[in-house]
Symmetry: C2
Subunit: 117 residues, 2 copies
DNA sequence: TCGTCTGTTTAGGTGTCACTTTACACTCGA
DNA sequence: TCGAGTGTAAAGTGACACCTAAACAGACGA
């Protein structure tokens, strides 16, 4: 679960309060019970399913991929992409492990250029 | 579940038989019951957990990432890498979606080069 | 002090995953 | 014909994911 970073629950509670949204209101927007959200925000329950995390990201104005990562997940859309070219994607990711954000951004641009061929 | 490709179970059965390995023997090596493996091979049960798939790959001489993909999975090691840089990795993957194997291989080499800086 | 916010506690509940045990049926060589 | 090997059918299990409803407790304004 990748200790070290702030916990998912604590984070979204902070952001929710900063936006002055009530727990019940938020729960309703996400489509879960207030009870459940309360537990999640205190990290008594693990983060909810992907679609719920996405909704939360939308509400608190966070990048969905970032928040999913905090939830210990990766968007299923991305794993689908990997599964289309497992060997090459695996090679790439292992090679790209530990690269800086700038290096990664550059590679993403290269990929985009390759596609626009 | 991404229809189109050969089913996981059918594939490993074929490879196992080609290597003349008995079902019980294989089950033992993997660490599951023969019954279970039987069902998996006839695609009555979904593919087993990641570590089991890896063992199967080792036994039938297949690339683990490839076999994991066939099993509808992505190595947890790879999702870990993504979770370290969610935004950039997500951007990259979306840009890289649909690229040819050659293009991907080139990008992997670029990544390797960037790391060896 | 009443109603209405806030969040929390208690006590579940259902479904899916990843398997197992037990028992069975077939084939084939000795 | 037996026993040793093949694979299979039926049923069950333990853990965990992903939640819920009902009741409660404290603050705060009218």
């Amino acid at each position: 679960m990748k200790a070290g970073r702030e916990k998912f629950g604590a984070f979204i509670r902070r952001e929710r309060e900063a936006k002055e949204i009530g727990l019940r209101e938020m729960a309703k927007k996400i489509g879960v019970s207030p009870t459940y959200l309360s537990k999640v925000e205190r990290d008594e329950f693990p983060p909810p399913a992907e679609d719920k995390v996405r909704k939360i990201a939308g509400i608190i104005g966070q990048d969905a991929d970032e928040l999913l990562a905090m939830a210990g997940r990766v968007a299923s859309e991305l794993t689908d992409i990997i599964r289309e070219r497992p060997r090459e994607m695996a090679d790439f990711l292992r090679a790209a492990k530990g690269l800086t954000a700038e290096d990664m951004a550059r590679l993403a641009r290269q990929a985009q250029k390759a596609k626009d061929k």
